[in-house]
């Protein structure tokens, strides 16, 4: 187990370097000038040149190496930078550094994502177990139907509907912004519903397979109570596919969703994945991509470790 962790952690910088290089090439290839005002006003060419030099945007080669040095902290060790792990100033939100943007947004996205994942697990596993234990029953059909709706309805529809009902009609929650549970409930539910639907389906099929397995029949023959069979034995095995889904799902949910953050005006980092690219904000693109990649790699590692813990047969 520790060998796996060490190996993955050693591999991580290499993976991140490849991601950095590919992202840089793609981002640099976006046409246009990130410092340009989209409304079309052009500063005089000499001012634009000064701006490009100020941000080291005059040459891709210098930018690539300078940025790499700043992000990794090498420049700081060599004494040419003020601080380590510096993602640089955002090119569009000029008063903010990418570190500040990530520092302000990532905790929000992570909190919201974690809340959504927990909610999704609670709803999804319950529904999946109920359906999987008695396939074909009315309860099973109901959960399948709800799961189908949850998967098919896009979150901008669910989100807007929730906002109109609970925000405008019932005045139960404030609209837009962040701070306090009342702001977090609707976005968490919106984010959780499609995940819950997916988890419910995974759990249901897992449970169906397990409930007809030999060890369940043996347990029943020994007189073990049904609840103990379901929760203590079958669920543990049925949970494995859910677990492998949870890694990437958690990474995705915790780095924010563009749609949910936009609809509910959540100050996370989800919207940057789209807006930074549209604005060709190179430093911000690199920042969010590297943050997301790191989280994804770590979560996959956590899932792999958890897998071995739940099912010791794997990887031995």
């Amino acid at each position: 187990m520790s060998g796996l962790i060490v190996r993955r952690l050693l591999l991580m910088p290499v993976v991140l370097l490849v991601i950095y290089t590919v992202t840089f090439c793609l981002a640099w290839a976006i046409p246009g000038n990130p410092l340009e005002n989209p409304e079309g006003r052009q500063p005089p060419p000499e001012v634009m040149q000064a701006m490009l030099e100020q941000y080291r945007l005059d040459s891709p080669w210098t930018f690539y190496w300078d940025y790499l040095g700043n992000v990794t902290g090498i420049a700081w060790v060599l004494g040419t930078a003020d601080r380590p792990f510096d993602f640089g100033p955002s090119l569009t939100h000029v008063d903010w550094t990418v570190n500040e943007i990530l520092g302000a947004g990532l905790p929000v996205s992570m909190t919201l994502g974690l809340l959504a994942i927990l909610l999704a697990c609670a709803i999804g596993i319950t529904a999946g177990v109920v359906g999987g234990v008695k396939p074909g029953s009315a309860a099973d059909l109901a959960t399948l139907l709800i799961a189908l709706i949850g998967v098919s309805l896009p979150s901008f529809v669910i989100g807007t509907a929730l906002l109109v009902v609970f925000g405008v009609w019932l005045h139960a929650v404030p609209i837009g912004g962040w701070g306090g549970l009342s702001h977090a409930v609707l976005p968490a539910v919106t984010l959780a519903l499609p995940l819950a639907a997916y988890i419910a389906r995974l759990t249901r099929f897992g449970m169906m397979d397990q409930m007809i397995a030999d060890y369940v029949r043996t347990a029943r023959a020994k007189g073990v109570t049904e609840s103990r069979i379901v929760l203590g034995h079958a669920l543990k095995n049925a949970f494995l596919p859910v677990l492998s889904f949870l890694g990437p799902a958690a990474a995705m949910a915790m780095t924010g969703s563009f749609v949910v953050e936009k609809i509910f005006a959540v100050p996370g980092i989800g919207t940057h994945f789209v807006n930074a690219v549209l604005g060709k904000d190179l430093t911000l693109i690199m920042g969010v991509v590297l943050a997301y990649s790191t989280i994804l790699i770590l979560f996959n590692l956590v899932v792999d470790v958890a897998y071995r813990w739940v099912d010791p047969r794997i990887g031995t």
Binding site: G32, A50, E53, L163, L181
Partner: protein, 624 residues
């Protein structure tokens, strides 16, 4: 079961984290900007929402009366202008203080304006400061000196570079003092000499980028970069704990994508002008959510309602107005404002609303003709001929466009400068809708339907090239207008038009390269003088994407530059615009831009209706 305890702990921790994240406090005035505030550094501002903040946090020498755009005293109490209209001497208020208690002095203005001129700051609006005598040559000198620095110090170690950068900076300071005519005669007297008489100089000085910054604070975040020799200025000083201003408000909090809170500045010299002691600028990026937030009663003012359904909202407003037309007319006749009259009417019923308001703005929506002799692929460009351009302008029914396509009923225009937006200037009349005249003009330019097949040809029988109509594909406005234009031109002129919608960045790239025949344009003015629009047509202007060049326009603008008599100057500029809008038409002017606001009439007061649409937040008040 053993998982339950850590799960409960996790949920508890999450709930605590969310609850501890402080909820925004209520404010006397709550509004939503069109987009995030980008910077609070006045010298680097370009966006309207940023400048709106500049007028709260800082105070320039003078400011506009935002109802008629006359000039009022602000940080300066008085000013004198020399005989040759080139030297301005400002006398500052003795009682003005920075928010940390320091006195506001003429030296602060010298420092701030120098920042804007320095290429190191790369201020987008630095060109406005080039009216100051010596500023342009100083900018060029420093730019070249920095380029030389990079060449000469290649291969040197960091300590030597640092010394060289310092020596260059000392030389820069000396040069600025010697060559740029911007001086503090004493603590309270600022003297500026301009390169040439600039009748709109006071209007420029009222613009946000001319606001002062607190020298000590900014210098704390500046250092010389040994790698490039530049003065490197970090932006951390604009954050709440650091920012020092001299305006009616101070920055209480600014959190990224959450909002910005202002509190009345206790050290401001005229606290009575501040109508709302606290102001909250809430960040809601999605306009649909912002409209919902407004409808839930949380927001006093939405400053840009650019929803896809804005035309439907306006239709609801019209329905409400027509239902109460007699009472509205009576109220207006009695001299009351429209907002006051609306506030006294019964609440809107189903399908009606009175909280959406249309404000004509200081900008013109137009389409650009590519005026270069050849297209990027080397073909001859038919639009290089002014007669062809006139034909394309005259065959467009703009009324139909604003009524049925944009459905916003914007004021249609035939000129570049929005009518009535600049005191002392009257725009001439441009070309109206005249399809018959259009076909005549096209025939005179050598294009006519010679074989009766409905398609026009030149003398050699070659059909008119298929027109490449370029527009930006974000939002539906320009796609719809472009479709309407295509139909009108095909119907009236017998030409074929192909639409090319591109995402903004690609669109701009094509515009810059001249890869279009007709392209979506538009312009907002910066200052209260016709040149803020007419400069677009100067040969070689950076915003002249049309590649338009006319010796006569250049000459008229040059004459106006040198003209001392304000009326004679305005006459020259009017002649320049007349020539542009009736003879040369490098653009097809469609309509004046409008801004849609949302507020409850009678509840929010203090908004300016002048087309320049500069709203001073300190003038605004909500009756909650």
């Amino acid at each position: 079961m053993k998982l339950l305890a850590p799960l409960v702990a996790l949920v508890g921790a999450l709930a605590t984290v969310i609850c501890l994240d402080d909820t925004p406090a209520d404010a006397d005035l709550v509004f939503v900007n069109a987009s995030e505030v980008f910077t609070l550094d006045p010298q680097r501002m370009t966006w309207m929402q940023d400048l709106r903040m500049a007028y709260c946090l800082y105070e320039g020498l003078v400011r506009w009366n935002n109802d008629d755009f006359s000039i009022e005293a602000a940080a300066a109490t008085s000013w004198t202008i020399s005989e040759d209209r080139r030297t301005y001497t400002f006398r500052l208020r003795p009682d003005a203080r920075w928010s940390n208690g320091d006195p506001v002095t003429a030296h602060d203005f010298v420092y701030s304006w120098k920042r804007a001129i320095l290429p190191d700051t790369a201020a987008q609006y630095s060109s406005l400061f080039m009216v100051i005598d010596g500023a342009a040559s100083f900018f060029r000198w420093r730019t070249e000196a920095l380029a030389d620095f990079a060449r000469e110090t290649a291969g040197l170690g960091t300590p030597q570079r640092r010394d060289r950068a310092q020596a260059l900076w000392d030389e820069t300071e000396r040069r600025f003092a010697a060559t740029v005519s911007l001086e503090a005669d004493d603590r309270l007297t600022l003297r500026v000499r301009l390169a040439r008489p600039t009748p709109y100089f006071l209007d420029l000085v009222a613009f946000g980028v001319f606001c002062p910054v607190h020298r000590g604070t900014v210098e704390g975040f500046s250092r010389l970069d040994p790698a490039t020799g530049r003065l490197h200025q970090r932006h951390g000083w604009t954050k709440p704990t650091h920012l020092v201003g001299n305006g009616p408000y101070v920055l209480a909090s600014w959190r990224y994508k959450r909002g910005l809170y202002l509190e009345a500045n206790r050290l401001y010299h005229s606290p009575a002008i501040v109508q709302s002691p606290t102001v909250a600028c809430v960040s809601i990026e999605d306009i649909n959510t912002a409209v919902l937030a407004f409808e839930s009663g949380r927001i006093d003012w939405l400053s840009d309602v650019s929803t896809e359904y804005q035309a439907d909202m306006l239709a609801q407003r019209l329905a409400y107005e027509s239902k109460h037309a007699p009472r509205i007319e009576a109220g207006l006749a009695a001299g009351r404002s429209l907002d006051e009259v609306l506030a006294d009417l019964p609440a809107p019923g189903r399908g009606e609303r009175r909280d959406i308001h249309i404000f004509p703005a200081f900008g013109t929506d137009f389409y650009s003709f590519n005026c270069r002799p050849h297209l990027t692929d080397g073909r001859d460009n038919p639009f290089a001929n002014a007669g062809v351009r006139r034909a394309f302008v005259m065959s467009v029914d703009k009324n139909a466009i604003v009524r049925h396509v944009t459905r916003l009923n914007e004021p249609i225009v035939t000129t570049l400068i929005p009518p009535g937006s600049i005191p002392g200037y009257r725009s001439p009349n441009g070309l109206g809708y005249d399809p018959v005249g259009a076909r005549g003009s096209l025939a005179a330019a050598g294009w006519a339907d010679r074989d009766g097949d409905g398609i026009i040809e030149n003398e050699r029988g070659e059909p008119f090239p298929v027109i490449d109509l370029l527009y930006s594909s974000n939002g539906s406005r320009y796609r719809n207008i472009s479709l309407a234009l295509r139909d009108m031109w095909q119907r009236e002129l017998g030409v074929r038009v192909e639409l090319r919608g591109k995402e903004t960045k690609f669109f701009r790239e094509d515009l810059r390269r001249g890869n279009f025949m007709i392209g979506r344009g538009g312009w907002y003015g910066d200052y209260g003088d016709p040149t803020t629009f007419l400069d677009l047509c100067r040969t070689g202007n950076g915003n002249n994407v049309r590649g338009y060049s006319s010796p006569r326009v250049d000459e008229l603008l040059r004459l106006a530059d040198d003209e001392l008599d304000p009326r004679a100057r305005m006459a020259l500029l009017a002649e320049c615009e007349r020539f542009l809008v009736t003879e040369e038409v490098p653009m097809l002017f469609l309509c004046q831009y409008v801004q849609l606001y949302m507020y409850e009439p009678g509840r929010l007061t203090g908004l300016s209706r002048h087309p320049r649409l500069t709203q001073y937040l300190w003038k605004m008040k909500s009756r909650g």
